[in-house]
Symmetry: none
Subunit: 217 residues, 2 copies
DNA sequence: GCAAATTAATGATTTATTCAAG
DNA sequence: CTTGAATAAATCATTAATTTGC
Protein backbone atom coordinates (compact mmCIF):
# COMPACT_ATOMS: atom_id res chain seq x y z
CA UNK A 1 0.00 0.00 0.00
CA UNK A 2 1.48 3.16 -1.01
CA UNK A 3 1.47 5.22 2.05
CA UNK A 4 0.80 7.72 -0.49
CA UNK A 5 0.67 11.27 0.10
CA UNK A 6 -0.79 12.62 3.16
CA UNK A 7 -2.48 15.84 2.47
CA UNK A 8 -0.84 17.46 5.33
CA UNK A 9 2.21 17.46 7.43
CA UNK A 10 2.27 15.19 10.39
CA UNK A 11 4.93 16.12 12.84
CA UNK A 12 6.98 13.32 14.20
CA UNK A 13 7.34 13.16 17.94
CA UNK A 14 10.84 14.51 17.73
CA UNK A 15 9.81 17.41 15.62
CA UNK A 16 7.02 18.14 17.96
CA UNK A 17 9.20 18.02 20.98
CA UNK A 18 11.62 20.41 19.45
CA UNK A 19 8.99 22.81 18.32
CA UNK A 20 7.49 22.86 21.74
CA UNK A 21 10.82 23.40 23.28
CA UNK A 22 11.43 26.34 21.05
CA UNK A 23 8.05 27.68 21.86
CA UNK A 24 8.66 27.37 25.52
CA UNK A 25 11.87 29.15 25.00
CA UNK A 26 10.04 32.14 23.85
CA UNK A 27 9.78 31.84 20.14
CA UNK A 28 6.39 32.86 18.94
CA UNK A 29 6.67 34.34 15.53
CA UNK A 30 9.89 33.18 14.04
CA UNK A 31 11.21 35.27 11.27
CA UNK A 32 12.22 33.77 8.02
CA UNK A 33 15.77 33.04 8.94
CA UNK A 34 14.64 31.26 12.03
CA UNK A 35 12.06 29.30 10.17
CA UNK A 36 14.67 28.30 7.75
CA UNK A 37 16.99 27.07 10.37
CA UNK A 38 14.37 25.28 12.29
CA UNK A 39 13.15 23.63 9.17
CA UNK A 40 16.53 22.40 8.28
CA UNK A 41 17.07 20.92 11.64
CA UNK A 42 13.70 19.36 11.86
CA UNK A 43 14.04 17.81 8.48
CA UNK A 44 16.37 15.40 10.13
CA UNK A 45 13.46 13.79 11.78
CA UNK A 46 11.05 13.67 8.98
CA UNK A 47 9.72 15.45 6.05
CA UNK A 48 8.95 19.02 6.73
CA UNK A 49 8.76 22.32 5.00
CA UNK A 50 9.17 25.84 6.14
CA UNK A 51 5.51 26.52 5.89
CA UNK A 52 4.83 23.75 8.32
CA UNK A 53 7.01 25.44 10.83
CA UNK A 54 5.41 28.73 10.09
CA UNK A 55 1.93 27.37 10.53
CA UNK A 56 2.84 25.46 13.57
CA UNK A 57 3.91 28.55 15.40
CA UNK A 58 0.94 30.49 14.18
CA UNK A 59 -1.46 27.89 15.37
CA UNK A 60 0.26 27.10 18.56
CA UNK A 61 0.43 30.69 19.53
CA UNK A 62 -3.16 31.32 18.58
CA UNK A 63 -4.44 28.36 20.45
CA UNK A 64 -2.41 29.22 23.41
CA UNK A 65 -3.97 32.59 23.42
CA UNK A 66 -7.35 31.15 22.96
CA UNK A 67 -6.96 29.20 26.10
CA UNK A 68 -5.97 32.23 28.05
CA UNK A 69 -8.80 34.14 26.57
CA UNK A 70 -11.32 31.73 27.81
CA UNK A 71 -9.92 31.88 31.24
CA UNK A 72 -10.01 35.62 31.23
CA UNK A 73 -13.54 35.77 30.10
CA UNK A 74 -14.51 33.49 32.82
CA UNK A 75 -12.88 35.72 35.31
CA UNK A 76 -14.45 38.74 33.79
CA UNK A 77 -17.84 37.33 34.15
CA UNK A 78 -17.23 36.57 37.71
CA UNK A 79 -15.99 40.03 38.39
CA UNK A 80 -18.86 41.61 36.66
CA UNK A 81 -21.45 39.79 38.53
CA UNK A 82 -24.16 39.92 36.06
CA UNK A 83 -27.41 38.19 36.04
CA UNK A 84 -28.68 37.09 32.73
CA UNK A 85 -31.98 38.00 34.05
CA UNK A 86 -33.91 40.82 32.69
CA UNK A 87 -32.21 42.79 30.06
CA UNK A 88 -34.01 45.93 29.91
CA UNK A 89 -35.64 46.56 26.76
CA UNK A 90 -38.36 48.68 27.89
CA UNK A 91 -37.05 52.09 27.43
CA UNK A 92 -36.01 52.59 23.89
CA UNK A 93 -39.42 53.38 22.54
CA UNK A 94 -39.60 56.89 21.42
CA UNK A 95 -39.36 59.08 24.28
CA UNK A 96 -36.33 61.06 23.82
CA UNK A 97 -34.51 62.67 26.51
CA UNK A 98 -33.81 66.12 25.70
CA UNK A 99 -30.98 64.99 23.65
CA UNK A 100 -29.33 68.14 23.01
CA UNK A 101 -26.84 69.24 20.59
CA UNK A 102 -23.67 67.71 19.73
CA UNK A 103 -20.92 68.44 22.00
CA UNK A 104 -17.67 67.16 20.83
CA UNK A 105 -16.01 67.77 24.02
CA UNK A 106 -15.15 64.19 23.88
CA UNK A 107 -11.93 65.14 22.50
CA UNK A 108 -10.90 66.06 25.91
CA UNK A 109 -9.61 63.54 28.28
CA UNK A 110 -12.23 62.18 30.59
CA UNK A 111 -11.76 64.82 33.11
CA UNK A 112 -9.71 63.89 36.02
CA UNK A 113 -11.79 61.00 36.95
CA UNK A 114 -9.58 58.13 37.47
CA UNK A 115 -11.86 55.27 37.79
CA UNK A 116 -10.75 52.03 39.27
CA UNK A 117 -10.10 50.80 35.84
CA UNK A 118 -10.01 47.42 34.48
CA UNK A 119 -11.04 44.65 36.70
CA UNK A 120 -8.47 42.38 35.37
CA UNK A 121 -4.92 42.95 35.49
CA UNK A 122 -3.98 43.47 32.00
CA UNK A 123 -0.52 43.49 30.93
CA UNK A 124 -1.26 46.01 28.38
CA UNK A 125 -2.88 49.28 28.74
CA UNK A 126 -1.39 50.58 31.91
CA UNK A 127 0.14 53.69 30.76
CA UNK A 128 -0.97 54.98 27.49
CA UNK A 129 1.07 57.99 27.28
CA UNK A 130 0.25 60.03 24.34
CA UNK A 131 3.35 60.57 22.48
CA UNK A 132 3.14 64.15 23.17
CA UNK A 133 2.65 65.89 19.95
CA UNK A 134 0.89 63.66 17.57
CA UNK A 135 -2.06 63.91 19.74
CA UNK A 136 -3.32 66.69 17.69
CA UNK A 137 -2.34 64.83 14.65
CA UNK A 138 -5.34 62.86 15.29
CA UNK A 139 -6.47 64.72 12.49
CA UNK A 140 -8.39 66.57 10.27
CA UNK A 141 -11.39 64.45 10.37
CA UNK A 142 -13.65 66.57 12.28
CA UNK A 143 -11.72 68.30 14.83
CA UNK A 144 -12.84 71.49 13.46
CA UNK A 145 -16.32 71.53 14.66
CA UNK A 146 -17.38 74.29 16.83
CA UNK A 147 -18.73 72.16 19.51
CA UNK A 148 -17.03 72.33 22.68
CA UNK A 149 -17.89 70.35 25.65
CA UNK A 150 -16.54 69.19 28.85
CA UNK A 151 -17.13 65.90 30.37
CA UNK A 152 -19.12 66.57 33.45
CA UNK A 153 -17.73 65.60 36.71
CA UNK A 154 -20.72 63.65 37.59
CA UNK A 155 -19.50 60.99 35.36
CA UNK A 156 -18.45 59.42 38.49
CA UNK A 157 -21.99 58.88 39.29
CA UNK A 158 -22.76 57.35 35.99
CA UNK A 159 -19.84 55.27 36.62
CA UNK A 160 -21.26 53.69 39.64
CA UNK A 161 -24.55 53.23 37.98
CA UNK A 162 -22.90 51.28 35.34
CA UNK A 163 -21.64 48.87 37.79
CA UNK A 164 -24.90 48.45 39.39
CA UNK A 165 -26.76 47.76 36.28
CA UNK A 166 -24.20 45.62 34.76
CA UNK A 167 -24.40 45.87 31.10
CA UNK A 168 -27.73 47.33 30.77
CA UNK A 169 -26.17 50.65 30.52
CA UNK A 170 -25.54 49.99 26.92
CA UNK A 171 -29.12 50.72 26.28
CA UNK A 172 -28.75 54.10 27.73
CA UNK A 173 -26.32 54.99 25.12
CA UNK A 174 -28.46 53.84 22.40
CA UNK A 175 -31.61 55.56 23.15
CA UNK A 176 -30.00 58.73 22.28
CA UNK A 177 -32.14 60.35 19.80
CA UNK A 178 -31.62 60.87 16.16
CA UNK A 179 -27.97 61.08 15.63
CA UNK A 180 -28.53 63.46 12.92
CA UNK A 181 -31.12 65.04 10.86
CA UNK A 182 -32.87 62.04 9.64
CA UNK A 183 -34.04 58.77 10.82
CA UNK A 184 -36.48 60.44 13.07
CA UNK A 185 -39.01 57.85 12.27
CA UNK A 186 -36.64 55.37 11.08
CA UNK A 187 -37.45 51.84 10.45
CA UNK A 188 -34.94 50.51 12.78
CA UNK A 189 -36.58 49.58 16.01
CA UNK A 190 -33.30 49.21 17.56
CA UNK A 191 -33.62 45.61 18.18
CA UNK A 192 -32.64 44.47 21.52
CA UNK A 193 -29.05 43.73 21.45
CA UNK A 194 -27.86 40.70 23.03
CA UNK A 195 -25.48 41.73 25.57
CA UNK A 196 -22.07 40.48 25.63
CA UNK A 197 -21.63 37.73 23.24
CA UNK A 198 -18.66 36.46 24.93
CA UNK A 199 -17.43 35.61 21.59
CA UNK A 200 -14.85 38.06 22.36
CA UNK A 201 -12.93 37.88 19.31
CA UNK A 202 -10.18 39.51 20.98
CA UNK A 203 -8.55 39.93 24.17
CA UNK A 204 -5.04 40.43 24.35
CA UNK A 205 -3.24 38.29 26.57
CA UNK A 206 -0.22 36.48 25.83
CA UNK A 207 2.85 38.39 25.52
CA UNK A 208 3.78 36.16 27.87
CA UNK A 209 6.77 34.52 26.82
CA UNK A 210 9.92 35.87 27.99
CA UNK A 211 9.45 33.50 30.68
CA UNK A 212 11.83 31.43 29.05
CA UNK A 213 13.52 30.20 32.00
CA UNK A 214 10.29 29.39 33.58
CA UNK A 215 11.32 25.93 32.95
CA UNK A 216 8.45 24.34 34.65
CA UNK A 217 6.35 24.40 31.58
CA UNK B 1 10.07 47.98 31.37
CA UNK B 2 7.68 50.77 31.24
CA UNK B 3 5.11 49.86 28.77
CA UNK B 4 5.52 53.42 28.16
CA UNK B 5 3.31 55.42 26.14
CA UNK B 6 1.82 54.01 23.15
CA UNK B 7 1.39 56.68 20.61
CA UNK B 8 -2.17 55.81 20.34
CA UNK B 9 -5.12 54.41 22.07
CA UNK B 10 -5.11 50.71 22.65
CA UNK B 11 -8.53 49.44 23.38
CA UNK B 12 -8.70 46.89 26.09
CA UNK B 13 -10.61 43.78 25.27
CA UNK B 14 -13.50 44.94 27.34
CA UNK B 15 -13.65 48.23 25.58
CA UNK B 16 -13.52 46.55 22.27
CA UNK B 17 -16.20 44.12 23.10
CA UNK B 18 -18.46 46.88 24.18
CA UNK B 19 -17.78 48.99 21.16
CA UNK B 20 -18.48 46.12 18.88
CA UNK B 21 -21.63 45.37 20.70
CA UNK B 22 -22.79 48.91 20.33
CA UNK B 23 -21.92 48.79 16.69
CA UNK B 24 -23.82 45.62 16.17
CA UNK B 25 -26.69 47.22 17.93
CA UNK B 26 -26.93 49.81 15.29
CA UNK B 27 -24.78 52.68 16.35
CA UNK B 28 -22.79 53.99 13.46
CA UNK B 29 -22.21 57.66 13.91
CA UNK B 30 -22.71 58.50 17.53
CA UNK B 31 -23.41 62.06 18.28
CA UNK B 32 -21.44 63.92 20.81
CA UNK B 33 -23.60 63.08 23.75
CA UNK B 34 -23.38 59.45 22.89
CA UNK B 35 -19.70 59.62 22.45
CA UNK B 36 -19.41 61.27 25.73
CA UNK B 37 -21.38 58.65 27.51
CA UNK B 38 -19.64 55.84 25.83
CA UNK B 39 -16.33 57.33 26.67
CA UNK B 40 -17.19 57.71 30.26
CA UNK B 41 -18.32 54.18 30.50
CA UNK B 42 -15.42 52.76 28.69
CA UNK B 43 -13.02 54.64 30.81
CA UNK B 44 -13.79 52.11 33.45
CA UNK B 45 -11.82 49.62 31.56
CA UNK B 46 -8.86 51.63 30.64
CA UNK B 47 -7.72 54.95 29.44
CA UNK B 48 -9.78 56.32 26.65
CA UNK B 49 -10.83 59.60 25.21
CA UNK B 50 -13.77 60.72 23.21
CA UNK B 51 -11.81 60.99 20.08
CA UNK B 52 -10.91 57.37 20.35
CA UNK B 53 -14.54 56.48 20.35
CA UNK B 54 -15.22 58.82 17.52
CA UNK B 55 -12.45 57.43 15.41
CA UNK B 56 -13.34 53.91 16.22
CA UNK B 57 -16.81 54.29 14.85
CA UNK B 58 -15.58 56.14 11.84
CA UNK B 59 -13.12 53.46 10.97
CA UNK B 60 -15.28 50.57 11.83
CA UNK B 61 -18.11 51.83 9.75
CA UNK B 62 -15.92 52.57 6.81
CA UNK B 63 -14.26 49.24 6.87
CA UNK B 64 -17.47 47.48 7.29
CA UNK B 65 -18.76 49.05 4.17
CA UNK B 66 -15.63 48.26 2.35
CA UNK B 67 -15.94 44.71 3.41
CA UNK B 68 -19.43 44.31 2.17
CA UNK B 69 -18.51 45.86 -1.09
CA UNK B 70 -15.81 43.38 -1.65
CA UNK B 71 -17.92 40.45 -0.79
CA UNK B 72 -20.64 41.54 -3.10
CA UNK B 73 -18.30 42.01 -5.93
CA UNK B 74 -16.82 38.67 -5.30
CA UNK B 75 -20.12 36.95 -5.29
CA UNK B 76 -21.26 38.67 -8.37
CA UNK B 77 -18.22 37.65 -10.22
CA UNK B 78 -18.44 34.13 -9.05
CA UNK B 79 -22.00 33.84 -10.11
CA UNK B 80 -21.30 35.04 -13.53
CA UNK B 81 -18.19 33.28 -14.26
CA UNK B 82 -16.46 30.87 -12.18
CA UNK B 83 -12.86 30.32 -12.61
CA UNK B 84 -11.07 28.00 -10.35
CA UNK B 85 -8.48 30.59 -10.44
CA UNK B 86 -7.59 32.34 -7.33
CA UNK B 87 -10.00 34.83 -6.06
CA UNK B 88 -9.24 38.25 -7.03
CA UNK B 89 -9.11 40.55 -4.32
CA UNK B 90 -8.96 43.65 -6.21
CA UNK B 91 -10.81 45.12 -8.99
CA UNK B 92 -13.40 47.67 -8.65
CA UNK B 93 -10.95 50.33 -9.11
CA UNK B 94 -8.98 50.43 -12.13
CA UNK B 95 -5.66 51.60 -11.48
CA UNK B 96 -3.95 49.61 -8.92
CA UNK B 97 -2.17 46.50 -9.38
CA UNK B 98 -1.83 44.04 -6.70
CA UNK B 99 0.89 41.77 -7.30
CA UNK B 100 0.67 38.43 -5.77
CA UNK B 101 2.83 37.81 -2.92
CA UNK B 102 5.78 35.73 -3.74
CA UNK B 103 5.66 33.68 -0.67
CA UNK B 104 8.78 33.27 1.28
CA UNK B 105 11.00 30.55 0.28
CA UNK B 106 10.24 28.40 3.18
CA UNK B 107 6.96 27.76 1.64
CA UNK B 108 8.61 25.79 -1.03
CA UNK B 109 9.44 22.23 -0.55
CA UNK B 110 12.92 21.72 0.76
CA UNK B 111 14.49 20.94 -2.46
CA UNK B 112 14.91 17.33 -3.12
CA UNK B 113 16.72 16.36 -0.06
CA UNK B 114 15.26 13.31 1.42
CA UNK B 115 16.83 12.89 4.73
CA UNK B 116 17.01 9.60 6.50
CA UNK B 117 13.85 10.38 8.25
CA UNK B 118 12.56 9.72 11.61
CA UNK B 119 14.28 7.29 13.74
CA UNK B 120 11.14 6.22 15.39
CA UNK B 121 8.47 4.31 13.77
CA UNK B 122 5.37 6.27 13.95
CA UNK B 123 1.99 5.49 12.81
CA UNK B 124 1.93 8.49 10.72
CA UNK B 125 4.59 10.15 8.80
CA UNK B 126 5.88 7.75 6.22
CA UNK B 127 5.54 9.58 3.05
CA UNK B 128 4.34 13.08 3.20
CA UNK B 129 3.70 13.90 -0.30
CA UNK B 130 2.72 17.42 -0.77
CA UNK B 131 -0.58 17.50 -2.40
CA UNK B 132 0.80 19.27 -5.28
CA UNK B 133 -1.62 21.96 -6.16
CA UNK B 134 -2.80 23.99 -3.25
CA UNK B 135 0.69 24.60 -2.41
CA UNK B 136 0.64 28.08 -3.64
CA UNK B 137 -2.50 28.86 -1.89
CA UNK B 138 -0.88 29.77 1.27
CA UNK B 139 -0.49 33.33 0.79
CA UNK B 140 -0.63 36.78 1.83
CA UNK B 141 0.68 36.21 5.22
CA UNK B 142 4.01 37.67 5.02
CA UNK B 143 5.83 35.90 2.49
CA UNK B 144 7.46 38.30 0.36
CA UNK B 145 10.93 38.01 1.41
CA UNK B 146 13.52 37.17 -1.08
CA UNK B 147 15.15 34.58 0.96
CA UNK B 148 15.61 31.40 -0.65
CA UNK B 149 16.82 28.43 1.11
CA UNK B 150 17.49 24.89 0.53
CA UNK B 151 17.99 22.30 3.07
CA UNK B 152 21.60 21.46 2.84
CA UNK B 153 22.74 17.95 2.55
CA UNK B 154 25.23 18.27 5.24
CA UNK B 155 22.49 18.30 7.68
CA UNK B 156 23.65 14.88 8.43
CA UNK B 157 26.67 16.32 9.97
CA UNK B 158 24.81 18.81 11.89
CA UNK B 159 22.74 16.01 13.00
CA UNK B 160 25.55 14.35 14.74
CA UNK B 161 26.61 17.56 16.22
CA UNK B 162 23.21 18.08 17.54
CA UNK B 163 23.28 14.86 19.25
CA UNK B 164 26.53 15.58 20.81
CA UNK B 165 25.56 18.87 22.12
CA UNK B 166 22.18 17.91 23.15
CA UNK B 167 19.92 20.82 22.79
CA UNK B 168 22.38 23.53 22.46
CA UNK B 169 21.66 23.74 18.83
CA UNK B 170 18.48 25.35 19.70
CA UNK B 171 20.37 28.41 20.50
CA UNK B 172 21.45 28.65 17.00
CA UNK B 173 17.96 29.07 15.96
CA UNK B 174 17.34 31.70 18.42
CA UNK B 175 20.14 33.97 17.76
CA UNK B 176 18.41 35.32 14.83
CA UNK B 177 20.93 36.94 12.74
CA UNK B 178 20.16 39.91 10.68
CA UNK B 179 17.21 38.61 8.81
CA UNK B 180 18.16 40.35 5.75
CA UNK B 181 17.71 43.64 4.20
CA UNK B 182 17.24 46.14 6.85
CA UNK B 183 18.71 46.65 10.11
CA UNK B 184 21.92 47.69 8.58
CA UNK B 185 23.65 50.31 10.53
CA UNK B 186 20.61 51.01 12.48
CA UNK B 187 20.58 51.69 16.08
CA UNK B 188 20.23 48.13 16.87
CA UNK B 189 23.60 46.62 17.49
CA UNK B 190 22.10 43.28 17.16
CA UNK B 191 23.39 42.34 20.44
CA UNK B 192 25.08 39.09 20.54
CA UNK B 193 22.64 36.69 21.62
CA UNK B 194 23.19 35.44 24.90
CA UNK B 195 22.72 31.93 24.48
CA UNK B 196 19.68 30.36 25.47
CA UNK B 197 16.88 30.81 27.61
CA UNK B 198 17.54 32.49 30.60
CA UNK B 199 17.31 36.15 30.23
CA UNK B 200 15.14 35.80 27.33
CA UNK B 201 15.68 39.36 26.69
CA UNK B 202 17.21 38.60 23.47
CA UNK B 203 14.66 36.65 21.59
CA UNK B 204 13.90 39.68 19.79
CA UNK B 205 11.75 38.91 16.96
CA UNK B 206 9.78 36.23 18.51
CA UNK B 207 8.28 38.06 21.20
CA UNK B 208 7.72 40.66 18.91
CA UNK B 209 4.12 40.33 18.75
CA UNK B 210 3.15 43.64 19.71
CA UNK B 211 3.98 42.85 23.09
CA UNK B 212 1.84 44.03 25.62
CA UNK B 213 0.55 47.35 24.97
CA UNK B 214 0.86 47.36 21.33
CA UNK B 215 -2.55 46.03 21.14
CA UNK B 216 -3.65 43.62 18.67
CA UNK B 217 -7.21 43.73 18.87
C1' DG C 1 -10.98 -7.34 18.14
C1' DC C 2 -12.25 -4.34 14.31
C1' DA C 3 -14.34 -1.05 11.61
C1' DA C 4 -17.99 2.34 10.84
C1' DA C 5 -19.40 6.47 13.28
C1' DT C 6 -18.21 10.34 16.29
C1' DT C 7 -15.49 13.49 18.29
C1' DA C 8 -11.20 15.92 19.42
C1' DA C 9 -6.81 17.93 17.63
C1' DT C 10 -4.51 20.43 14.81
C1' DG C 11 -2.54 21.52 10.06
C1' DA C 12 -3.70 24.82 6.35
C1' DT C 13 -6.51 28.77 4.44
C1' DT C 14 -9.04 32.64 4.48
C1' DT C 15 -10.67 36.91 6.46
C1' DA C 16 -10.15 40.88 9.46
C1' DT C 17 -7.34 44.15 12.11
C1' DT C 18 -3.67 46.91 12.84
C1' DC C 19 -0.07 49.97 11.74
C1' DA C 20 2.89 52.70 9.02
C1' DA C 21 3.66 54.93 4.62
C1' DG C 22 2.07 57.50 0.69
C1' DC D 1 -8.05 58.59 2.90
C1' DT D 2 -5.67 54.94 0.66
C1' DT D 3 -2.82 50.99 0.56
C1' DG D 4 0.90 47.46 1.51
C1' DA D 5 2.74 44.53 4.95
C1' DA D 6 2.36 41.80 8.94
C1' DT D 7 -0.31 39.35 12.08
C1' DA D 8 -4.01 37.61 14.57
C1' DA D 9 -8.60 35.58 14.46
C1' DA D 10 -11.72 32.61 12.40
C1' DT D 11 -12.65 28.95 9.62
C1' DC D 12 -12.03 24.94 6.81
C1' DA D 13 -10.40 20.28 6.36
C1' DT D 14 -8.01 16.15 7.46
C1' DT D 15 -6.03 13.18 10.54
C1' DA D 16 -5.97 10.57 15.00
C1' DA D 17 -8.63 9.21 19.00
C1' DT D 18 -12.59 7.43 20.80
C1' DT D 19 -16.80 5.22 20.97
C1' DT D 20 -20.09 1.81 19.64
C1' DG D 21 -22.30 -2.31 17.56
C1' DC D 22 -21.32 -6.57 16.17
Amino acid sequence: MSPAASSRWCPTPEQLMILEELYRSGIRTPIASQIQRITVHLSLYGKIEGKNVFYWFQNHKARDRQKLRKKLIKQLQQNHIYHPDRHLQENQSNHHHHQHHPLPSYFNPPASTSPPFHPLSYHNSPVFLPRGGPEGAATQMMMNHPWKVEIPQNVQMENSLMRMYGQDWMMMMMEVGPPSPCSSSNTRPLETLELFPITATNLKEECNNNNISSSSN
